[in-house]
């Protein structure tokens, strides 16, 4: 395990590259989901205000 983390001396480089990739990928996923959830929320609010003014 120690040896695996050490990566033949390249550990710092390898793990920072993979760690950064993980961060960017997760951020992308969260950002896309938030954009979708936000669009749904806005639409719902719009719908409610529309039906509210009709009644």
């Amino acid at each position: 395990m120690q040896e695996f983390l050490y990566m033949g001396g390249y550990g710092g480089y390898v793990w920072s590259a993979f760690g950064l990739t993980a961060i960017v990928l997760i951020w992308n996923w969260v950002a896309a989901r938030r954009a979708y959830a936000g669009a749904i929320r806005k639409l719902r609010a719009r719908q409610e205000s529309a039906t509210g003014s009709n009644s």
């Binding site: 990566m7 033949g8 001396g9 480089y13």
Partner: protein
Amino acid sequence: MWTWFHKLGSPPHFFRISGALLPWISSIAFLLMVLGIYGGLVLSPADYQQGDGFRIIYVHVPAAWLSMLAYVTMASAAGVGLVWRIKLAHAVAASCAVPGASFTFLALATGSIWGKPMWGTWWEWDARLTSELILLFLYLGYISLRNAFSDVSKADRASAVLALVGVVNIPIIHYSVTWWNTLHQGATVSKMAAPSISGSMLWPLLVSAIGFTLFFVALLFTRTRAEILMRERRTKWLTEVLEGT
């Protein structure tokens, strides 16, 4: 074929299909990425010249590939939207920019992390690196140009022109290692002859690249769905979709 194409171009149809496909695409993308990364970090042997440092390619190459794929997708969709005035195409183009910019950043950053121990420098004004940096600026320019318009259809048209002009950079990035005598190494996988990499190192790279690509498709679908919701907010079909959920 044409009717199928036409149907896919209609926002309600795309919204339904993409919604049904998304869970599948995202789970397959996740599995392939885990498998590719595991293969790259654990199963693949160390390189005879670069030792374990070469393992960075398992994230660097897919990120660099996606930075270009996302741009080509964005420019093609923008072109289709501009010529045939298809609303969905503009929604797709707009959805490519943020993932594309982040993959470009990732390709530059992981390349830089690899460059430090291998080349002895974080950065070099080399043709490959410089053209990839220009790609990042094209994405950022596209995003800020879109944000400068409050009217969506004006933003669509102006940003489409920028996306199409910038597409000349893509062959420059791809062929930069052949056209110029660069520090960046030449192609490893996409050669007409046999790739210059052994099978035990190659398969995790391909699996990882397919996983990353599917992940991009999942991001693109999710963002396009959000764009459709915003653009079609006044339509009846959307009200029905919302009531159904």
